[in-house]
Symmetry: C2
Subunit: 440 residues, 2 copies
Amino acid sequence: MKGMNIGIIGFGTVGAGTYEILKTNAALIARRVGMPLNVRRIADLDVVSDRGVVVEPGLLTADAEEVLEDPRVDVVVELVGGLDTAKEFILRAMAQRKHVVTANKALLAECGDELYRAAARHGVNLSFEASVGGGIPIIGALRKGLAANRIQTIMGILNGTSNYILTRMTLEGLPYERVVEEAVKLGFAEDPPTLDVDGTDAAHKLVILVSLAYGTPVPFGEVYRAGIDRLTPDDVRFAGEFGYRVKLLAIARELGDRVEARVHPAMIPADHILANVNEAYNAIYLEGDFLGPNLYYGLGAGREPTASAVVSDIMDLARQIRLGRTRPMPPLAHAEEPGTPVRIQPMEDLSTAYYFRFSAVDRPGVLSKISGVLGENRISISSVIQKGREVNGSVPLVMLTHEARESDVNRALSAMEGLDVLTDRTVMIRVEKGVRHGQA
Amino acid sequence: MKGMNIGIIGFGTVGAGTYEILKTNAALIARRVGMPLNVRRIADLDVVSDRGVVVEPGLLTADAEEVLEDPRVDVVVELVGGLDTAKEFILRAMAQRKHVVTANKALLAECGDELYRAAARHGVNLSFEASVGGGIPIIGALRKGLAANRIQTIMGILNGTSNYILTRMTLEGLPYERVVEEAVKLGFAEDPPTLDVDGTDAAHKLVILVSLAYGTPVPFGEVYRAGIDRLTPDDVRFAGEFGYRVKLLAIARELGDRVEARVHPAMIPADHILANVNEAYNAIYLEGDFLGPNLYYGLGAGREPTASAVVSDIMDLARQIRLGRTRPMPPLAHAEEPGTPVRIQPMEDLSTAYYFRFSAVDRPGVLSKISGVLGENRISISSVIQKGREVNGSVPLVMLTHEARESDVNRALSAMEGLDVLTDRTVMIRVEKGVRHGQA
């Protein structure tokens, strides 16, 4: 067999890593798939920068057309990122009957439906293992290993930058701004790291996981997201005193005909296996109806882990072709084309426990006023911490609630805005109790 | 499409779970693979016991021939377990051009080569996701998601019974015998749980993982194994004082042209992600050359998790057939047939750190005598704990060493047998330093 021919569009970090793996492990890869994988063309606007890898002469071009129009190219690897241009490249590659491998989570989350339908129409593969969790093969697990199960719960730490920031805030008690500043300086975070810390990146990835779990498009705009930029070391410390850790979680839950899908800072029990996923690591925790709890852990970003996932997609495609496959695997791993979008539960219908930190004046009757408003809104308190010295005339009053409704919480917090005993905005963090299992 | 027809041989725990999933999630499964999966025949010597699932009339037979000879059956699911009979069933099924799905780790570890070659000869699939880690899709990850990598390290907690016992010894300070007795009574362990606690079961699973990682047979007899039955609560406690946890680990490492492959109790840093895998949970930790560290965690045994893996194999096969595939996926996911067996490094060549607990008489000069023998054998000490009161005329003297050679350790321990200052057999536990990553 003459081998499979690859064209890469986008020769940045992940593109260079992909080329490096294909070269370094060429013999191993050929032995595993049964034929050589040949990079035929690499397009990038920048054809001069050193990417730390020696590129064979004649491969690089500044013109993506030379990849898209090259009749030798069997599979186009889209690593440009972003929405419009990347989408155009992918649709044009498909129209040329080329298979597509991409790591583009934003594009899949926001325009996935269009791409999935185009792949089906043209009879080509669209693979995206690298789009979620970097080197963690979570897409493959959902497509295959877990396929016998209804997926009941997904809880993911899907953004490494946020997790790195939260880890340092937790372990070193540092304020958000200081950690971000250092992370940017060290090259661990973009400047500014907006899409990482505001929950957008994690929400993109959650949409992809939920689409795969249910085989339907997920309306990205309906996925609630909140970021970590307003968390303080105080909240992280109080969480610890209650036996919790704060993580930026991407959460999905099957609720009959609706699905919960949301991204926000959340407190989870310190003995939950996700609570100990630290630094830039990612992890995806799942519960299936027969499988029970499962966790996947690894490096969620970076040149080599992400490229490892890109190459695994290329290899899978090569194997399928070698085994005589005549039809492509559907992108969402469901036999039919994606149907009606899944219904996302409105955020105000959420039921969960809550953490509140009130900045209150230090005077008798404050606790009674606050708990009065909560009670009027059907929110019952499970624990209270009141301590610490007065700063600028106020003390922190910290509470955990029993399960309450988000709409009631919103109503209570609005009502409290009028209370003269509060000196600052109230901080609210949702609490995920989770299941205890296997953790000491 | 008329669907794929399944015959099950062995209707015990996992067999009943498989049938239950295929029935309960039939609609979901058909939607995912694009055709119905029909159980046509189930063979078991016991056709009367209640397995907690309603079986359609006419499916059950006491005669395995009725599965093997049924021309309608496309795939035979072997869940008999054990070696000879199971092997005969599998080879006969393959000879009839039926695909095979099995959970039989003992058979794969001890006779895998013969089965892999038979599958290739007959042009059928041999799938075994359920053989390692129960519901954890680690086989699929090695075959596909991690395929771009050289696998440099595998460290697994692969036996749930041992891990349950060690967890209770660690958290409750209980002696081995007492935990085993309770586990047997509660149905968590077999009576006696020999193959679980002596390392055999974990070694079977390790052999399968290593075979997949390198695409070659692994001589099971050369894999070193030691069990947990001689561990005491004292050793577990001392491990904790040094900042370690004791786990039954299955370890493989690539060493150029040789592979380390061994199963034994090992101390790992308390902040290693494997150290916090408790109770009956399994986890597989891997390092790939591009991927970095990865962990897979879940329930490693039990009716439903194991059956979830069996059904995922059946579904994958159904999909492949539906996509027009004409050749089977090779069992070891390498294009060639398995070649020369991988070379296992002899245990005496191992280099690692060690924990020793000496039972010594409480008198001056003892430490100097012991450290003298260690020094003569090129073993250097990194920490010592000497404390606790005298019991029967002896005190525990506990040491951690720097990296040393197993052959030197064996020589030193033999030499010490002659020392009059020791009152009992010396306890030795190997220490895996591991990489620190992502753990607080």
